[in-house]
Symmetry: C2
Subunit: 206 residues, 2 copies
């Protein structure tokens, strides 16, 4: 949703407020950075998350300073960034990056319903490794007691997206310097079995 | 440096305060997330940066809200995260990630010396694409006037690093579920020439 704080001061043409742009970025990014304020001091923690409809979930230890601070419900800014490429122009000034980012302004809502808590943990696990949750033993009551689950509304989320090649100044167009895009991608390599799984076949979902 | 705000509340064994750990992470990460506070509201912006000795530089448009806010010198939290792998344990509870992250608490110092400003822009450019700066036409006075360069001390920087396989509970060790690591890597793909560089050979540094 476009509000004062989700409207960028620069390059407003790159801003998007529709779920069709925002949701796929959140679904592709594995980690977000949660920024919050403690006594006027900004703090930032990278963490896993998962989206369900128009909210996202994070989880953490009930004892973590981070979780205890943000569960109070103060303002939080959650950001994700996917880097699709480096954009090399003919001048340093017009170098850029192709990226898809999302910024969410929200306040934590502590999830207390046990079924919703369990479902959020399943979503976070399957966001990282689709299909993993159903292959795992049930989470125990003790593990659930040690875990806090927080939800954040996407009502005040916005995306910024840059695609395409460099935009050079007209007077630079004929310079002999190479210009273009270096595409970037995050890839998963061959899984490495743990010592206690040397004889266990790799599951199909990997 | 270990201070109250750089000491994690959880997993303190993963924390590091030495330059030998912190500097290589900052040199490998291409983008950081700058978190700051405006009227009590946390804000976060991903941006390029470069390290020189025990400080880092960022740059931005003199007109951007972000730059104008943080150049006032208020407290800033800069974070970077490199994801080396997903760690799959036999229980959901012990799933984790292998990562190398750095968090810097600092206040922006506006760089005013023209030579230092130019050098910072060269460092930021070469951090993304080593060797690029010397291949580019000189930056113009007009471009320099449109650009703000900010420096941040690394005095209060800390790293968190996780490596290795899953740590399972003893009672889970013999479960038939596969466990191990899915290594992850960010790769650069074949460069794509811009329209104005179709006949320009790819430079050696690419």
């Amino acid at each position: 949703m476009q509000t004062a704080r989700t409207t960028p001061s620069r390059l407003a043409k790159r801003a998007h407020y529709d779920a069709n742009t925002i949701h796929p970025i959140l679904d592709e990014a594995l980690f977000c950075t949660v920024s919050y304020v403690t006594d006027g001091q900004p703090m930032a923690i990278p963490t896993a998350f998962a989206r369900l409809g128009d909210k996202i979930y994070i989880h953490g230890s009930v004892g973590s300073h981070f979780i205890r601070e943000i569960e109070k419900g103060g303002p939080v800014c959650i950001s994700v960034m996917l880097t699709d490429g480096l954009v090399l122009a003919k001048s340093a000034f017009h170098h850029s990056a192709n990226y898809r980012s999302v910024v969410i302004f929200a306040n934590a809502q502590k999830v207390t319903d046990e079924a919703e808590r369990m479902n959020a943990l399943a979503l976070i696990t399957d966001h990282l490794i689709p299909g993993r949750w159903d292959d795992l033993r049930p989470t125990t009551d003790s593990e659930m007691r040690k875990t806090t689950v927080l939800a954040f509304s996407l009502a005040e989320a916005s995306a910024k997206v840059r695609t395409g090649g460099p935009s050079d100044d007209p007077e630079d167009e004929n310079l002999p310097t190479w210009s273009g895009i270096i595409p970037m991608q995050t890839v998963r390599l061959t899984p490495v079995s743990a010592e206690n799984s040397q004889d266990t076949p790799l599951p199909n979902y990997l």
